[in-house]
Amino acid sequence: MINKVVQNADEAIRDIQDGAVLMLGGFGLCGIPENSIAALLKKGTKGLTCISNNAGVDDFGIGLLLQTRQVKKMISSYVGENAEFERQLLSGELEVELIPQGTLAERIRAGGAGIPAFFTPAGVGTEVAEGKETREFNGKVYLMELGLRADFSLVKAWKGDTAGNLIYKGTARNFNPMMAAAGKITIAEVEELVPAGELDPNMIHTPGIYVQRIFQGSNYEKRIEQRTVRG
């Protein structure tokens, strides 16, 4: 068995260089790689391109890396919860590429699955379609979208084992499984790391082949953006 365990986030991200292209799992603040983000903040890696559905909030998630100007470009579907992001975007300090959420998810899936491009109806007739090849199938127009890959994918799971197998919990799954497959090097942080053999193979969401490094994270804050309860 190949042992993929590293001690902590600092060791896991040690070779992420300035200018790297990263994928970061999560939807809003749900299922984000908190420990790896904190380690990047500490290391001060700059000029990053971050592919992530959202950009965090001002003082948490990717928002922390925006505050320290470590991000050169964001590739996301929705960035509405972050005032610092908006300021940097309007002042031209930050490059931003907005992609429809399903297209983003599928581009990442395709990238990890060796599919260079695919056709989707999302964005036809909109500014998303500008400069893209279109093609008609059965009387309907589709856009060609390209698969996406990253130098490093930073994902977060609930449980993992020393072989890199991952299980997610609830809607913290979101983009994490596709990103795990689309990173040249995938770094998984988990709440509970167990020896290989302890997780039921039938229950694995991300097979260990996609994960190069794994560590048990600590001090998860799991901040809630919209705490909504019924009376």
Partner: protein, 219 residues
């Protein structure tokens, strides 16, 4: 009297049929879930990867790992399932979701919708809206008929950046229920209690088609 947000949500709830899988957008569409009659069984899809979404949690049930597409804490019901974002949009793109209810800033008389961007003012991103409108077979839009300054939002052509072309089938506003005709135009189906056809005509910039007597909305 024009409908308030709850009135719009209640009227849209009447469109919900037993056995449907439904995606509800943020805002008024989210409220629709509260007014679906008990004898009608549906499953709500949240595009961040949840089918079988339940109501908001109690304080004790709050789980940071269980949210909806509006990033609100939610619960799941018996029979629920959880999946990745790719799978989620696969079921949307593959037309497995029967009904999509979402908000709009503008709708044109041929069914184009604009709801994601106001150039120079709001640049938040389209989220899943473009994927939803491009693939859904049945889209109902919940919106105000006019903007705050009184300008019609039911137009000949959208002025804001487009989210999707020729996709809206039905619109429920504070003033009326309208159907988008395949050949273009808004066919008036129902009017809000006490609102006249003339008032609706005046509030609609796009082509309004009125056939015979128009009943009042019953909620």
């Amino acid at each position: 009297m024009a409908l308030d947000k709850i009135g719009i949500a209640k009227r849209i709830a009447q469109e919900v049929k037993d056995g449907m899988y439904i995606n509800l957008g943020i805002g008024i569409p989210t409220l629709v879930a509260n007014y679906i009659p008990e004898h009608i069984n549906v499953e709500l899809q949240s595009e961040n990867g949840l089918l079988g979404m339940g109501p908001f949690p109690t304080e004790e049930e709050v789980d940071a790992d269980l949210i909806n597409a509006g990033k609100q804490t939610v619960t799941y019901l018996p029979g629920a399932s959880i999946f990745s974002s790719a799978e989620s949009f696969g079921m949307i793109r593959g037309k497995h979701v029967n009904l999509t209810i979402l908000g709009a800033m503008e709708v044109s008389e041929n069914g184009d919708i604009a709801n994601w961007k106001i150039p120079g003012k709001m640049v938040k991103g389209m989220g899943g809206a473009m994927d939803l409108v491009a693939s859904a077979e049945n889209i109902i839009v919940a919106m105000q008929h006019r903007s705050r300054d009184g300008a019609s939002k039911l137009l000949k052509e959208c002025t804001l950046p487009i989210t999707g072309l020729r996709c809206v089938k039905k619109i429920v506003t504070d003033l009326a229920v309208l159907e988008v005709l395949p050949e273009g135009g808004f066919r008036l189906l129902e009017r809000a209690p006490g609102i006249s056809v003339e008032e609706i005509k005046a509030a609609t910039e796009g082509k309004l088609v009125v056939d015979g007597d128009i009943p009042e909305i019953q909620i």
